[in-house]
Symmetry: C2
Subunit: 337 residues, 2 copies
């Protein structure tokens, strides 16, 4: 038996949509979630692609997400829009507020979107890239549950607190990065656990605060922030901006839903959008072209741009389809019943 | 002879002001620069304190900064203000535009300040802290000259590209960080060179792209970004936002002024300000108080907050004065003629 299966885009979308709707998500949530996880799977990021549907359904079964939540959007100021996800998944709330964020960015030059009370499990780059494809510069951040120790600490306190940035490159994929402020995304540790592989040194500490390479011990202990105290400082910034600034929770106040019905995974997300055309007016194209000199300078040294591998994968996926592990396919196929 | 000298706040301010005005800076530039370097010296950050007056005067003598530049402020959009420093020092331009940035943040929820064509040599934290002392959340960034290689690269391309963030803590010093996206600030390497000390491993590569611990070789080669490819990705973001986004230069297009009259050190700076009261209205104080739980959680583990040491130094300086090396005092005293 082959250990992988290759799906067409249509097949992947149908698989995702059926897994979600047959487990109780509304059509509109299933559509928004599918757009995200299929886009991420196309980019061959396995930790945040179709694999995430498993924990998404598990969260629903554990009562941790409202599957038919209807987000409501609120206009707080000329530069600020807020959307309350009403305990549902963040993706639909983001999609509904996105046009307002974009309009505000075009009018005001810069705008902020606060997403509140959202179950968030997804990669951020499809959100920021969608804004850059419309010509905007975008920044997104969200906390996660307490998985990471502060630099110099010994216990989990901070979320993995990802940050994503995207910059429009006319005629090309945007310059995009999306990374956890932990050394790696928690999904990477989970993938190591599933594959029974040890972790590289420096990723995590165990429950006693001692360094560990055991993924099980790491999941019971704490991950470490990237870049020592600088990464930890950024991580704290992300919790503040996507938490108390927008009237939402800190990472350590949230928890994955458990079979016992405990855990409240919802928290906030913050997005910023800036319209370069407001800043540089008629010469905006010239200045965007100017930015290319920086990307060329990186590539000329044999170094890579952060989104390069993903974008190459996306182009492969467009022609060759989406290849996923057979075990994952079978699990998802069971989930759609 | 004592190897240090302790100045009162007044003496430090007068020393700075006289060094600057007697070398040709206008009164208003000298006042703005003095406010910055004395604040930084109070915080016992020697690399960006009074020591920076030496290179500031050197830049002036080399024709690299316009000492009597008059910044002009332009209202670009409801959420965007721009100030052109006209080849002068960034600090006066920032101070003049700050009230407009603050007003825009209060009205729109979020606002952006672009500083263009500025000679920038100063720490960013006094700027973001001044916004947080007025109740705003603030983010600042600026490129510097090409001192840093991208992750996986071998030659200087990126600036040290500092980023600073500040969060208002009612009744306390703000939560503030300000760090270079290089492993350390370039000033630290210069201090090692002046002290004839070797560098820790991992800070820099030499002109051939090989690791080095020699500060001279590092200054001729390249510094490394903090946190590998994540730090490099952030550094690129900073160059884009404080460069082409606001119609200004990339780090590698700028150069320190040299005695031959070459080099054009000017570039851009970007600041964002967000008013928490726009986001959470009447409950803003409750949410700011809520943020304290995160800081308490860090401290409860024996870990430190990024600004802790600086703020303690500030309180010491208020009572005990500013202690600087005698060699620095003598050099500055010579400079004021």
């Amino acid at each position: 038996m082959d250990d992988t299966v290759t799906l067409t885009l249509d097949e992947a979308q149908r698989l995702s949509h059926e897994v979600l709707t047959r487990n109780g998500f509304s059509e509109s949530h299933a559509a928004a979630i599918t757009r995200n996880v299929v886009a991420v799977q196309q980019d061959e990021c396995h930790s945040h692609g179709l694999y995430r549907l498993i924990s998404c359904v598990e969260t629903l079964r554990n009562g941790g997400v409202k599957p038919d939540a209807v987000p409501w959007v609120e206009n707080l100021a000329p530069g600020v829009v807020r959307t309350d996800a009403d305990q549902g998944c963040s993706l639909l709330a983001f999609e509904q507020a996105r046009p307002i964020l974009m309009e505000k960015a075009r009018t005001n030059g810069i705008a902020l979107l606060a997403v509140n009370n959202a179950f968030h499990f997804s990669a951020l780059w499809p959100e920021v890239e969608s804004l850059s494809e419309a010509g905007l510069v975008a920044l997104a951040m969200t906390p996660s549950h307490a998985f990471v120790a502060p630099a110099g600490g010994s216990r989990p306190l901070l979320g993995t607190n990802p940050v994503a940035f995207s910059w429009p490159r006319p005629g090309r994929f945007p310059y995009t990065f999306d990374f956890a402020t932990s050394v790696v995304a928690r999904g990477e540790i989970e993938l190591h656990r599933r594959a029974s592989e040890t972790l590289p040194a420096g990723w995590a500490i165990d429950a006693e605060g001692a360094p560990t390479t055991d993924p099980e011990a790491a999941l019971e202990g704490a991950m470490l922030p990237f870049g020592g105290h600088k990464g930890a400082a950024l991580s704290i910034m992300i919790e503040l901006l996507a938490g108390p600034l927008i009237g939402d929770l800190l990472g350590h106040e949230t928890r994955a839903a458990t079979p016992g019905g405990e855990g409240r995974p919802q928290h906030g997300e913050l997005l910023l959008a800036i319209d370069p055309a407001v800043l540089t007016g008629a010469s905006v194209e010239q200045h965007l072209a100017h930015a290319e000199a920086l990307f060329e300078g990186v590539l000329a040294q044999g170094a890579r741009l952060p989104s390069q591998r993903r974008h190459a994968a996306r182009q492969r996926s467009w022609t060759k389809g989406l290849t996923i592990p057979m075990t994952l396919y079978q699990e998802l196929d069971r989930l759609r019943g």
